[in-house]
Subunit: 188 residues, 2 copies
């Protein structure tokens, strides 16, 4: 990749480094495309050209394998009494696909190991997930962070630590085990 278009690749990397800095220092709300572009020494139009919106810059800076909009839509669309199973199946599908699994593993590792990345993840969760989803579902934000904690822990136990029998359980067994917990968190 770096060999083909070194200038463009370097510029993209500079923008993402500046974005991590700006989001880390100013928070998600305080950071701007203009400020990120200034720190990277490029025109704001170039940031828009590479990434699109501020949210998309954030997704790229955190190397998220899915957009918050896709997660929010999957959680909020569909029958409320099946939300637990729907969220667990979405989660298992993302972790099963090889192309997203590696990104998620890297994300869990960097969130746990790097305070700047943990801070970005906190801002991402609060602004792009907890806020919109709790509003859409009329759910106290604390319950949504409970659901997020179960999702994080399932990732740690099943995919990072790989503790048995959870690591080798089938998707249906994990759904039967964890869906009632998410249904509880998503029920006010």
């Amino acid at each position: 990749m770096a060999g083909r278009r070194p200038g463009q690749t370097q510029t993209r990397a500079d923008i993402l480094a500046a974005a991590r800095n700006q989001f880390g220092r100013r928070g998600y709300d305080g950071a701007t495309i203009r400020g990120i572009a200034a720190e990277a020494g490029v025109n704001p139009a170039l940031v828009h050209h590479f990434f699109g919106s501020k949210e998309q810059v954030f997704v790229a800076a955190l190397n998220l394998p899915v957009t918050p909009a896709a997660i929010t839509e999957a959680i909020t669309q569909g029958p409320r009494d099946q939300i637990g199973e729907r969220v667990v199946r979405l989660f298992l599908g993302l972790w099963s696909a090889p192309e997203t699994r590696q990104s998620f593993l890297a994300l869990v590792r960097s969130v746990a190991g790097n305070e700047q990345i943990a801070s970005l993840m906190r801002q991402f969760l609060e602004h792009a997930v907890v806020g919109p989803v709790s509003a859409a579902l009329d759910l106290p934000p604390l319950r949504l962070t409970g659901a997020a904690s179960q999702a994080f822990g399932l990732a740690m136990a099943r995919y990072v630590i790989q503790v048995e029998p959870l690591a080798s359980a089938t998707d249906d067994e994990v759904v039967a085990l964890v869906a009632p917990v998410l249904q509880y968190y998503f029920t006010p």
Copy 2:
């Protein structure tokens, strides 16, 4: 510490490094005090002198702030219909105390960031926690790993990522939120 008794400190560190290697290569069951001593180039009696049992060597190698026996006892002792609240309060107490909080933070970070440590944690959970506790409670092991996943995720969300409103919630609010989940996992 290293300045006072450099020989003893170095020997202790050598034994722990050998222990991590032996547990990583042979597994918890396969590793022996004798093998750890041989790799560290010391007499097995010295390993016993420094640490005691194989389980205690393991606890020291992982830098666990509590012994598995203490965790197992806290989970299995007391009324079964209050086990969810009891486990959450034990968890919150360990994370609130400054002396154990830092060790737990370091543990979560190293488990997520280091595959060898993740493998040790897997063996520790399977042999020292999941086995004994599921036998004592007559509980399918899968449910116990579900409870462990919720505990890991609560640590990640509340203490590592510090997502709000979960990070600032009082202990009583967290107990009200999470105890029903652990009660569910601990109920066959």
